[in-house]
């Protein structure tokens, strides 16, 4: 059975719905608190999937995700890299995204390059919203055709279902320079974008989420784990029963990842036999 690891910490508060998302997608889940992981990082080796939930880790003191990321850089970066080498998909919504970019997992090495031994310096940042305010609302989502991201590739959406909820105060995507943004685009590492007409936080290039060059690690500001049922859609009471059939956008992402893991192990099987 495919096992998803949910990492919790003081102030992490989207862990339960993230766990539910993996379960609805067909995985089993196990949770581990950062205080356990710091003593025993090898727990990560047991995971087929990893979720870094949203929330306010350590109160987002200094900056969103900063303290948690620093603790992880020091104690478990290695285990994350070996998990990626094993082909473990990871999702990091909201605070998870803020942590992943500072932990050195995103955007990660350019295609063809290997992971560095030690965590690299962050090259992108999730800065304070241009409104300087926390904002919770639903926004349109656009997935680039050529994305490498195994989570967002091939999502089936309609105009009414291509929506996803955001809830953050520090989500303004800022790359260290224009060149990096161009490269991420060219390399298919842009996993999803805001609609240019509806960019809620001033993100450069309308970037909503990015993946590493393997497409396994998805970091994004919105919360796909909050769109697993049609009754979570912002105006579902206006939608006919018919248009509320099929998997909602959020659930599709998690099913993509679980399917990826299952196919991978299926291939292994066939190789062995």
């Amino acid at each position: 059975m495919t096992k998803a690891l949910i990492i919790t910490a003081p102030g992490i508060n989207c862990d339960v719905e993230l766990e539910e998302a993996f379960q609805l997608a067909g995985a089993t889940t196990f949770r581990s608190h950062i205080n356990q992981l710091m003593d025993e990082p090898s727990i990560i080796d047991e995971a087929d999937l990893i979720g870094l939930p949203g929330g306010f880790s350590y109160g987002d003191s200094v900056a969103a995700g900063r303290i948690m990321a620093q603790l992880m850089r020091q104690t478990m970066y290695e285990q994350f890299v070996s998990a990626l080498k094993r082909g473990v998909p990871m999702i990091a919504p909201c605070n998870g995204f803020q942590i992943a970019v500072q932990l050195g997992l995103l955007p990660g090495p350019t295609p063809g390059q290997g992971w560095s031994e030690t965590p690299s310096e962050p090259t992108v940042s999730l800065a304070q919203n241009n409104s300087a305010r926390f904002i919770d609302r639903w926004v349109g989502i656009d997935v680039p055709q050529d994305t490498r991201c195994i989570w967002t590739k091939g999502l089936e959406t309609t105009e009414q279902s291509a929506l996803i909820p955001i809830a953050h105060g520090e989500g303004r995507f800022v790359p260290k320079d224009e060149e990096l943004l161009r490269q991420l685009d060219v390399d298919g590492q842009i996993a999803c974008r805001y609609l240019p007409s509806d960019n809620p936080n001033g993100s450069v290039g309308d970037v909503m989420g990015i993946c590493d060059s393997s497409g396994l690690v998805l970091g994004l500001m919105p919360h796909p784990e909050r769109f697993l049922r049609w009754s979570q859609h912002p105006y579902w009471t206006r939608l006919s029963k018919e248009s509320r059939s099929g998997d909602p956008l959020g659930l599709q992402m998690f099913k993509n990842a679980v399917a990826y893991v299952n196919n991978k192990s299926a291939e292994k099987e066939t190789v062995h036999t």
């Binding site: 919790t8 003081p10 102030g11 508060n13 989207c14 339960v16 719905e17 539910e20 608190h33 205080n35 356990q36 929330g55 306010f56 350590y58 109160g59 003191s61 200094v62 900056a63 900063r66 303290i67 620093q70 603790l71 020091q74 500072q102 310096e121 962050p122 090259t123 992108v124 940042s125 800065a127 304070q128 919203n129 241009n130 409104s131 300087a132 305010r133 926390f134 904002i135 919770d136 609302r137 639903w138 909820p165 809830a167 303004r172 800022v174 790359p175 260290k176 001033g202 919360h223 784990e225 909050r226 697993l228 009754s231 979570q232 912002p234 105006y235 009471t237 206006r238």
Partner: protein, 958 residues
């Protein structure tokens, strides 16, 4: 030890949203002259045994973001015209500083003390004008120090130590005058009779009280903790008191009411339970009221006010308000999981000039919202229902109501400590903060309170509370069974009330020196009564202490063993380093309070009718929609994470554009279950000139809101929160009795039991010139109700062109207290107050619910502030559609009258017959239909929906 200073600033080319926000705040506050630009810098002051290199590492690896920020060790010079720095005052909580201390310890193994601050560089204004902005918009001198140059102290102030002995207070032999002076000067806020009772008790046992005992009595007997006014014996003369429970009629027609609460609010509940309501599981006894949700789960609800702290320091006051209410849920039964929060604020209009010693209304509301946002969002609890009421009599004493809903296993709804259980505290450390909060909140505010009571104000740390919550729920659900036998929160009165209440029947022995402290130097009395936030007290069998400790360690939640429950003769024994510093019998502490007797008078005002029915309806509607009570609350709601936990089914904002005002919220307490919980509220302060009518209207509105989203009026439980200007004079107390009568009658008529409540009876402000501002009598009714299947939920936004509109309920021309009159005082109309009909109200609610349950309703919206016109407009622009109605027999003022118990229903043409069938017992008229136009047309009047929408969206923006 040296103090190092680190500055973290945005890179020269990077944006500075915080700076722009500061500029914007100054602008909306109407400050002149305005700076050309404001730049912000985060300041970290580090004190510890570290060197330059260590400081550089900390700045590099922990404090700055290489992509967008620069760091500087020391003080950067700048070309700014003025520089202001804002730092927390000594002793004020600095959660960010605490988090950095923890991180440095974990990362570098160094023990360093950290304080954070913000540097503002102003361009284009001088130091004096910059200071003005700091005072008006950026800092509150109750908790902040404002420095007009970069702040780099030589050392951190450390807790000044006190004499640890607990003095005896000579009370035996004091005269009445001396007793009263003692009560006032040591902030006991006890009246003479209560002081005399204490005096004679100690005379009897032959000694004077220890200071700590007196403090314990003062807060246990405070209005805030025992609600002595609502429980008092009241001699009431006024109408409509006949044949009520515990109302003793006298020959002169007056009544003696034995315990007002028991005779009204509680009486309604217990009578309803006798009449067969079987889903109330715990009422009035626990930290929150509990009802049955399904066979395995119960849900609980509590609402509180945090008015006085919020008046002095709105940010900290509101944050600790929601934090305390969440702890009530954590401390209900054997702990519930908080799943939703609600908030209602009452403030003065933004244009109102703030009295001396008060903050501007816009500032208060902005800070209150920030406080609820920062605490609720960090706790991961969706804030998804609320409202704001504007009235200039709230200028000196704003009201901040915070509510919280929780879910728990149905077999964990109660627990009691047993002899020998350990007294375990989990969560925050104890400091000098919040001392005298209980007695302070029972006092009246004056213009000098900001100085006198700043120690009652606190800054909370949501993460500390979240860690405690995570640990407690894990301990509750432990495989070997719940690890504790009872739990409660430290609220007003701190350990004193928490342990005092838990040990009421069996006594307790407390070793005060075991409490972890924020800083050295707290006296035993201070430890005992401190109201420092984020602390829970549990009764834990000795055999489970180790397992609980392991769980707390995992979550990084601090836990300590304060002593043992159970003593010979049920006493409260307080020890410090082995010496007994206080000893009171629980029976005197909890039952010694003398019952008071009060006089209450009520005489109705004659209702009037000012001339013809005349008003310019076309001009009125846009003004109504822009009235701050009615206007969109989007700028508040979107700052709250109202979707965390993924339970939200009906949100505070609905419609295709996500900006239409929902009547209530619906969440799913149990994952995977299609059973929902509707959460709503009612507030009818406009009718406060007759609190009986106000109370019945508030309950009617709460039920209406819940019904409109699919809630079942038959399983609706409600809460009462009284906020009164005072309860000392006969007229004011008369209004309170009148209001309580309304609560009883409406709760009985609607069959909605009260399950919990709270009151705050001293909400007045005495200005420097001696004039006192009294708040309007205010009653918040909060409610929740079962939604059998969330598929049945409906929202208020118009759905589809061609659908018909039905108006349920009769409309009267009574416009007293209506928003139309607030907007157009010259309006000629019937100015009597609209009355709730106990026949129509419950019948309408039931009929509408049935129609919704049958899936016949496309959208439902109740008629409240602004009456029919406002509801029609909201439905139309909420759904991005037009509406056209024509109604015979309604005069113009009846289009904006606020008659209760009315609903607007949108029904598909083919279902109209079936709905009318279901409505045959109530007043139901088809008034028009939804169309594709961008126009609202009512009889001969019409408006452009987009124009109406903008008036509504722009009416109230923070």
């Amino acid at each position: 030890m040296p103090v190092f200073r680190i500055e973290i600033a945005p890179q020269p080319t990077a944006a500075d949203p915080a700076g722009q926000a500061a500029l914007h705040q100054a602008e909306v506050a109407g400050i002149h002259p305005l700076p050309r630009e404001v730049k912000t810098t985060a300041i970290y002051l580090l004190e510890g045994d570290i060197d330059e290199a260590g400081v550089n590492t900390i700045a590099q690896s922990l404090l700055h973001d290489p992509v967008t920020q620069t760091h500087f060790e020391g003080t950067r010079s700048s070309k700014a015209d003025a520089t202001i720095e804002i730092h927390p005052l000594p002793g004020v909580m600095d959660p960010a500083g605490q988090a950095v201390e923890l991180a440095i310890e974990k990362l570098l193994g160094e023990e360093v003390r950290v304080q954070t601050g913000v540097r503002y560089d102003f361009y284009g204004i001088d130091a004096t004008d910059a200071a003005k902005i700091a005072h008006r918009c950026l800092a509150n001198t109750v908790v902040h120090g404002i420095h007009n140059e970069p702040y780099h102290p030589d050392e951190f102030p450390s807790g000044h130590s006190h004499d640890m002995s607990v003095p005896e207070v000579p009370i035996i032999g004091l005269s009445d005058d001396e007793l009263e002076r003692m009560s006032r000067e040591s902030h006991l806020f006890l009246d003479l009779e209560e002081m005399q009772t204490i005096q004679s008790y100690y005379k009897e046992i032959g000694r004077n009280p220890k200071e700590i005992e007196l403090e314990t009595l003062a807060q246990t007997w405070s209005e805030h903790c025992v609600h002595k006014t609502l429980k008092a014996t009241i001699h009431y003369s006024g109408p409509n008191a006949e044949n009520r429970p515990h109302h003793e009629l006298h020959d002169d027609g007056t009544h003696t009411i034995h315990n007002l609460l028991k005779s009204t609010v509680a009486a309604a509940t217990f009578e309803l339970i006798d009449e067969g309501i079987d889903w109330c599981l715990s009422v009035f006894v626990d930290n929150a009221g509990i009802i049955k949700f399904d066979d395995e789960h119960a849900v609980c609800f509590k609402a509180e006010t945090h008015n006085h702290p919020s008046a002095l320091e709105p940010y900290g006051g509101a944050a600790t308000g929601i934090g305390g209410c969440i702890r009530d849920i954590m401390g209900t039964g054997l702990s519930a999981r908080p799943i939703a929060a609600t908030d209602v604020f009452c403030v003065a209009e933004f244009e109102n000039e703030a009295p001396q010693g008060c903050l501007q209304s816009r500032r208060i509301l902005g800070e209150v919202v920030r406080g609820v946002r920062d605490y609720g969002n960090r706790m991961g609890i969706p804030t998804l229902n609320g409202s704001v009421w504007f009235d200039n009599n709230y200028a000196g004493n704003p009201l901040v109501f915070c509510g919280c809903v929780g879910v728990m296993p149905i077999d964990k709804i109660e627990g009691d400590p047993e002899h020998g259980d350990r007294i375990i505290a989990i969560g925050g450390r104890t400091g000098r903060d919040g001392i005298h909060g209980a007695t302070f909140s029972s006092a009246e505010l004056t213009d000098t309170h900001a100085d006198e009571f700043s120690h009652a104000v606190q800054i909370g740390n949501a993460i500390t509370e979240k860690q405690a919550l995570d640990a407690i729920l894990e301990a509750r659900d432990a495989e070997e069974g719940c690890l504790f036998r009872a739990i409660t929160d430290c609220g007003a009165g701190g350990f004193s009330s928490a342990i005092g209440e838990m040990g009421e029947k069996i006594g307790a022995t407390v070793n005060l020196e075991h409490a972890p402290l924020k800083y050295a130097g707290l006296t035993p009395s201070e430890i005992w009564i401190s109201e420092a936030q984020e602390r829970m007290v549990l009764a834990v069998p000795q055999s489970n202490v180790a397992a609980l400790q392991a769980i707390c360690d995992k979550h990084g939640a601090e836990m300590c063993d304060l002593g043992e429950f159970g003593t010979e003769g049920a006493e409260l024994v307080l020890k410090y380093d082995g010496d007994t510093v206080g000893q009171i019998s629980m029976s005197f502490l909890h039952d010694g309070l003398p019952g008071t007797t009060r006089i209450a008078l009520w005489s109705p005002e004659a209702s009037s009718h000012n001339g013809e029915d005349k008003v310019n309806i076309e001009a009125l509607l846009p003004k109504l929609l822009a009235h701050p009570n009615i206007a969109s609350k989007q700028s508040i709601i979107q700052q709250y994470d109202h979707e965390v936990q993924g339970r939200s089914v009906v949100r505070p904002l609905v419609g295709p554009l996500g900006d239409a005002p929902s009547d209530a919220a619906v969440v799913t307490p149990v994952r995977g279950s299609s059973r929902g919980l509707a959460i709503g509220s009612g507030l009818a302060t406009g009718l406060s000139s007759d609190p009986y009518i106000m109370a019945t209207a508030a309950i009617d509105e709460c039920v209406r809101n819940i019904v409109c989203v699919g809630g079942d009026p038959e399983t609706t439980a409600i809460l009462d929160n009284f906020c009164w200007p005072s309860a000392n004079d006969e007229a004011s107390l008369g209004r309170l009795v009148r209001c309580a009568h309304g609560c009883y009658d409406a709760a009985k008529a609607y069959r909605t039991p009260f399950i919990s409540g709270k009151d705050s009876l001293n909400n007045q402000f005495t200005k420097d010139d001696g004039e006192t501002i009294y708040i309007p009598p205010t009653l918040l009714v909060s409610g929740f109700s079962i939604v059998e299947d969330i598929e049945q939920c409906v929202t208020m936004d118009a759905k589809q062109s061609g659908n018909k509109l039905l108006l349920i309920g009769t409309t009267t021309d009574s416009c007293g207290g209506s928003h139309a009159l607030m907007v157009e005082p010259s309006m000629e109309c019937n100015t009597s107050l609209p009355q709730v009909s106990f026949e129509e109200g419950p019948a309408n609610a039931k009929a509408v619910h049935n129609a919704i349950k049958c899936g016949l309703i496309q959208s439902a919206h109740d008629l409240s502030e602004g009456g029919l016109l406002v509801s029609l407009a909201e439905m139309a622009f909420g759904g991005g559609l037009g509406i056209s109605v024509s109604i015979d027999g309604l005069s113009d003022t009846m289009l904006v009258s606020e008659t209760p118990s009315r609903y607007l229903l949108e029904v598909a043409p083919e279902d109209v017959g079936a709905v009318q069938e279901l409505m045959n017992s109530v007043h139901c008229v088809e008034i028009g239909e939804v169309n594709d136009s961008d126009e609202l047309r009512v009889n001969e009047y019409s408006w452009n929906c987009d124009t109406l929408r903008s008036c509504w969206l722009e009416g109230m923006v923070i």
